[in-house]
Assembly symmetry: C2
Homo-oligomer: 227 residues x 2
DNA sequence: CGAACGATTGAACAGCATCAAGTAGGGTGG
DNA sequence: CCACCCTACTTGATGCTGTTCAATCGTTCG
């Protein structure tokens, strides 16, 4: 009596999607997939909150998830947006095992979870996966450090301009904001009001064009970079 | 013809000092130590600069090292201070292999380096070390994220107060600043002038006492926490 | 002993947050 | 199908925190 093939397929697919498992052969992937627990979260549902014990490495299979930190003053700092293939819950590696931030589904999302102990065992057995994971963590650390220095080194205008330049399609200069302006403001370390004003001034200057649905088109890259 | 015992001892000691290698048995440690290259850096000497290829994992054996990022506007953002036992150069795991920040010796320092390929091989052979390393990277990431949210969520006074409370000895409330006030200001995302002013106001309020040599004594923890 | 650097203090400006009001869009229920 | 509401976004006016520029002082090192 085996599990239904479709279910297998689904979980295998989830694992194959994740960069850190990508290079494994089908048999190894299947082994990991067999330990995966799946669950769907609704839009605006909390995956976990601070102080909560979390013993799972959570992989986003479908949908998007945001992690953020709520400071005691009520201020909310967005940390990052997870797309399919990204994972959270690295605290699972720590002995404390409690998160210090929130994780919330931005849309209906499917999450594949691996228990703390399972993942430790896998990493021990497949060191190549551990190396991949180290690479991923290193990249995230560098990205966070970049974000950190931009907060004190550049003014708000420059951070906004930098974000637009980073996200704009190389050819057309078009981009669509993948999050609310409220969230974007938080990510860039400012307020929705200031973000709105700066975008308006960029538009007035003819550097960008805004249309509905968060569509923005970068018209003058050089000018933005100078900002 | 073997290497001199003293040299072996020295390198073994260096390896034993590092938390991620701490749990290895002497034979394994020795194996790693045999691949370690040692070098001393002088005070104010640069370990590496951005854009520079860096294929080594560098472990601080003696002395202290600071990593910082120079933004294009000339502003300098201090990222962290490394104490003996800490390591940098995780970019070695990335395929790019180029750092995007500076590393500089604050004092004369002894650094043990492991080549990129050697460390990859060790991590493959000793997965437990890879796990330890993942734990370390996770902690650093969380710490950096905390730092990030404190920049936008708390005002300068609160960040300074938080630093003092964190570093003060639990019993006596005493602490000695381990870096220049210029560097501390940078770490806290402010300027030396503002730091100086806030510390002066804390002193006036009777919450702390300052003496020469960067010695500070926290007198009123509760008041500082409220700041 | 002088030079150079770090720390401190002072004064003025400015960027940005805050508060507040108004607008637009999208979903719900009558 | 329309009226309504709730949320997101925009725009406006004001105040404040913290940076910047500048001068002074202390101290450490050559």
């Amino acid at each position: 009596m085996t599990t239904l093939p479709s279910e297998h397929d689904h979980r295998d697919q989830c694992v194959a999607l994740v960069p850190i498992f990508a290079h494994l052969d089908p048999v190894e992937r299947h082994e990991i997939a067999s330990r995966v627990r799946q669950r769907t979260y609704r839009r605006n549902e909390l995956l976990y909150a601070p102080e909560e014990a979390n013993h799972f490495l959570m992989i986003v299979h479908r949908g998007r998830v945001k992690t953020y930190r709520g400071t005691e003053s009520g201020h909310e700092q967005l940390l990052r947006i997870l797309e399919p293939g990204n994972f959270i819950g690295e605290t699972a590696f720590l002995h404390t095992g409690t998160a210090d931030h929130y994780a919330l589904a931005l849309e209906d999302a499917e999450i594949c979870s691996l228990h703390h102990e399972d993942i430790r065992e896998f990493l021990t057995r497949y060191p190549a996966v551990a190396l991949k994971m180290l690479e991923t963590m290193t990249e995230r650390l560098e990205q966070t450090e970049r974000q950190l220095s931009s907060y004190t080194g550049e003014d708000v205008g420059a951070r906004i301009a930098g974000y637009l330049l980073e996200k704009a399609a190389p050819a057309t200069g078009e981009l669509i904001l993948t999050m609310s302006k409220r969230d974007l403001a938080s990510l860039l370390g400012t307020t929705p009001e200031t973000l709105s004003r700066r975008l308006a001034s960029f538009t007035d200057a003819g550097w960008i064009a805004q249309s509905s649905g968060g569509r923005i088109c970068v018209l003058d890259r050089a000018a933005l970079a100078r900002a």
